[in-house]
C-alpha cells in the first residue's frame, strides 16, 4: 500500500474546475515531485491534501486512513505537514520558538503547569528545547536559534519552515516550491538537505517545484499537472522526455 493514495480528486471555484480527476500514488520514503506550468493547480492540490479546501470529488488516503473531511489541524495530527509557497513563518518569534511550536503536539504539559511552573513544565521544556536544537542542527540553523525569524536571510527562512514542518513528526512532508528564490548554490545545498531528511527521518516527501535542476536531481517520480488535470506521470526520466510535457511547458 502506498503511503499517499489520491483518486479522482476534484474541486471547482465558482465556474472554474480548478482540479479534475487528479490521481497520485506516493510510496513510503519516496521523493516525489508535482510539476506543471504556473496556475496548473499544484498549490490547490496541496491545499486539498491539507484540508484548507474540501474536494467535491475523490478520495485521499494516508496510510490507508481517509483524510477527506478532516480539518487542517487533524490532518497534521494524522501525519501530513507542509511548507508554503510564500513562506509562512512566525515572524515575531525566535527561530527556535518557530520549531518549538512545531513540537507542540508531541511534548505537552497543562496550561496550569505552565502558569504555576510544576515540575512537568521544566522537564518537558527541556525535552522541547533539546529536540528543537537537534532539528535546527540538521538545517544548520543552531547558531541563529535566538534570532527573530524575520531577520533570517531568505534561504534560511525556507529551511526553518521545513524544520518546523518536520518537528510535527509527519509521515508525509509537502514542500511547496522550496527552492523558490534560491541561487544555484543554495539549491544544491537544499537538494542535499532534502535527501538527508528523507534518509535520516525516513520521510516521504512530495514536492512542488519549478527548478528543473532540483526536480531532475532528487525526484524519483513525477506527476505533471496542467489545467488542473494530470498530464503525465511516471519516473523522472520518462516524464521529462515526454513530448506532451515539453509542449505544455514550452508551448508549440
Amino acid at each position: 500500500m502506498a503511503l499517499l493514495e489520491v483518486e479522482s480528486l476534484g474541486i471547482s471555484f465558482g465556474g472554474l474546475r480548478a482540479v479534475d480527476n487528479f490521481n497520485i500514488s506516493v510510496e513510503k520514503e519516496q521523493l516525489y515531485g508535482l510539476i506543471g506550468p504556473n496556475g496548473a493547480g499544484k498549490t490547490t492540490i496541496f491545499n486539498l491534501l491539507t484540508g484548507v479546501y474540501k474536494p467535491d470529488k475523490g478520495t485521499i488516503r494516508l496510510d490507508g486512513e481517509n483524510m477527506v473531511g478532516k480539518n487542517t489541524i487533524d490532518i497534521n495530527k494524522a501525519g501530513i505537514a507542509r511548507t508554503f509557497q510564500n513562506i509562512r513563518l512566525f515572524k515575531d518569534m525566535s527561530v527556535i520558538d518557530n520549531v518549538k511550536v512545531g513540537l507542540h503536539n508531541h511534548h505537552s504539559y497543562s496550561t496550569l503547569s505552565a502558569i504555576f511552573r510544576f515540575p512537568s513544565y521544566y522537564k518537558v521544556e527541556k525535552e522541547i528545547r533539546e529536540r528543537a536544537m537537534e532539528l535546527l542542527k540538521v538545517f544548520g540553523l543552531e547558531e541563529e536559534c535566538d534570532y527573530l525569524a524575520s531577520n533570517l536571510p531568505y534561504g534560511k527562512q525556507r529551511k526553518l519552515e521545513i524544520a518546523r514542518a518536520l518537528a510535527t513528526g509527519p509521515k508525509l512532508l509537502l514542500l511547496d516550491e522550496p527552492a523558490a528564490g534560491m541561487n544555484p548554490n543554495e539549491t544544491g545545498e537544499l537538494m542535499d538537505t532534502i535527501r538527508f531528511v528523507r534518509d535520516n527521518f525516513h520521510m516521504t516527501i512530495l514536492l512542488i517545484e519549478h527548478d528543473m535542476k532540483l526536480v531532475s536531481g532528487i525526484c524519483e517520480g513525477l506527476t505533471v499537472l496542467n489545467f488542473g488535470q494530470v498530464l503525465a506521470e511516471g519516473t523522472t526520466g520518462e516524464v521529462l522526455n515526454n513530448p506532451e510535457v515539453i509542449k505544455a511547458y514550452l508551448g508549440e
Partner: protein, 294 residues
C-alpha cells in the same frame, strides 16, 4: 399604527444622520485603510461652527452651514496631513491610537473655547412640519430635510465616484494603493480628497443632527461617531451603499428600540443587533469576503 410610522420616519431621519457620518468612516477606511476615530468629533466641531456663526454672530443659516463645511473640510485635510500621513506605513493599531489622540484633542479644544455647558442649538431648518393623515402623523421639517439631504448626497457621491476622474482614482486606491500609484494616480491627493469629502459630510451631518436634537456639548459627536462606525461595519466596512443601509437600519432599530422596548436599553439593542448580524454574515450586510490566499 400612526405611532409606528412616526417612529419609523424618525428612525429613518436619525439613520440618515448616521448614514452621512458612516459614509465618511467607510470611505476613509476603504481608501486610506484606517479607522478615523476622530470623525465623530469633526461633527461636533462643525456643529459648534454653525452655532457660533448663526446663534452668536447672527449670520444667516445658509452662510453658517457653508462656513462649517469649509472649516471641517480644511480640518479633515489638515488632520490627515499632520497626524495620519506620517504613519501610513505603521500598523493599523498605531494609527487608531493616534486617531484617538486627535479625538481627545478636538474635544478639549471645543471644551476650552466653548466650555462644558450644553449649548442650545437653533435649528437651521425653516421648513414647517408636514401634517399627514389629518393631523395624526406629524413629520418635522428637520426630519424631511435630513432624509432628503441624505438621499441627494448619496446619489451625488455615487455618481461622482463612478463617473469622475478623481472619483475613480478613489476606487483604484481602495483596491490597490500600490498599483494605483504605479498607474500615475496621485495617492496622497486622493486620500486628502477622501478626508475632505468625509469631513464635509460630517459637517452636514452635524448640522442636521443638532437641528433635530438641539443640545450641543464637546462630547456630542462621540456616541454618534461610534454608532456610525457600527453602522459602517454593519453594512460592510468599505462599502458606500453599505454605509447608507447600515446607517438607516441602525437609526430605525434605535428609535424603535427606544419606543417599544426601553429607552435605557436602546443602545444595547442596537449593539446586540450588530452582533447578531455579524455572526450570521461576518463581513457585514454588503461586505466583501476577502479570501486569504494560502
Amino acid at each position: 399604527m400612526m405611532g409606528f410610522i412616526s417612529y419609523l420616519v424618525n428612525g429613518i431621519s436619525l439613520g440618515s444622520v448616521y448614514a452621512l457620518i458612516a459614509l465618511g468612516y467607510t470611505m476613509v477606511y476603504g481608501i486610506a485603510k484606517m479607522l478615523n476615530f476622530a470623525h465623530g468629533d469633526v461633527i461636533m466641531i462643525g456643529s459648534y461652527v454653525v452655532f457660533s456663526t448663526v446663534s452668536t454672530m447672527g449670520l444667516p443659516p445658509a452662510a453658517g452651514i457653508l462656513i462649517s463645511v469649509a472649516v471641517c473640510t480644511v480640518l479633515g485635510v489638515v488632520i490627515e496631513r499632520i497626524a495620519y500621513r506620517p504613519l501610513r506605513q505603521a500598523s493599523k493599531l498605531v494609527v487608531l491610537i493616534t486617531a484617538i489622540g486627535v479625538s481627545y484633542f478636538l474635544q478639549n479644544v471645543a471644551l476650552l473655547i466653548y466650555g462644558a455647558n450644553t449649548k442650545s442649538f437653533t435649528s437651521v431648518v425653516t421648513i414647517p412640519p408636514l401634517s399627514l393623515a389629518g393631523g395624526a402623523l406629524i413629520i418635522s421639517g428637520e426630519t424631511i430635510v435630513t432624509i432628503l439631504a441624505c438621499i441627494v448626497i448619496m446619489i451625488v457621491l455615487t455618481l461622482f465616484i463612478r463617473h469622475s476622474k478623481p472619483g475613480r482614482a478613489m476606487l483604484a486606491v481602495s483596491e490597490d494603493g500600490g498599483a494605483a500609484q504605479l498607474m500615475g494616480v496621485n495617492v496622497d491627493g486622493t486620500i486628502a480628497l477622501t478626508f475632505a469629502i468625509g469631513s464635509a459630510l460630517a459637517a452636514v451631518a452635524g448640522v442636521l443632527l443638532c437641528s433635530s436634537y438641539p443640545s450641543l456639548t464637546p462630547y456630542t459627536g462621540a456616541m454618534p461617531g461610534i454608532k456610525a462606525f457600527v453602522a459602517a461595519v454593519f453594512g460592510g466596512i468599505g462599502s458606500i451603499p453599505g454605509a447608507f443601509i447600515g446607517g438607516i437600519l441602525l437609526g430605525i432599530i434605535e428609535i424603535l428600540g427606544k419606543a417599544y422596548i426601553s429607552s435605557q436599553l436602546a443602545d444595547a439593542i442596537v449593539f446586540a443587533v450588530l452582533i447578531v448580524v455579524l455572526l450570521v454574515k461576518p463581513t457585514g450586510i454588503l461586505g466583501r469576503q476577502i479570501q486569504e490566499k494560502v
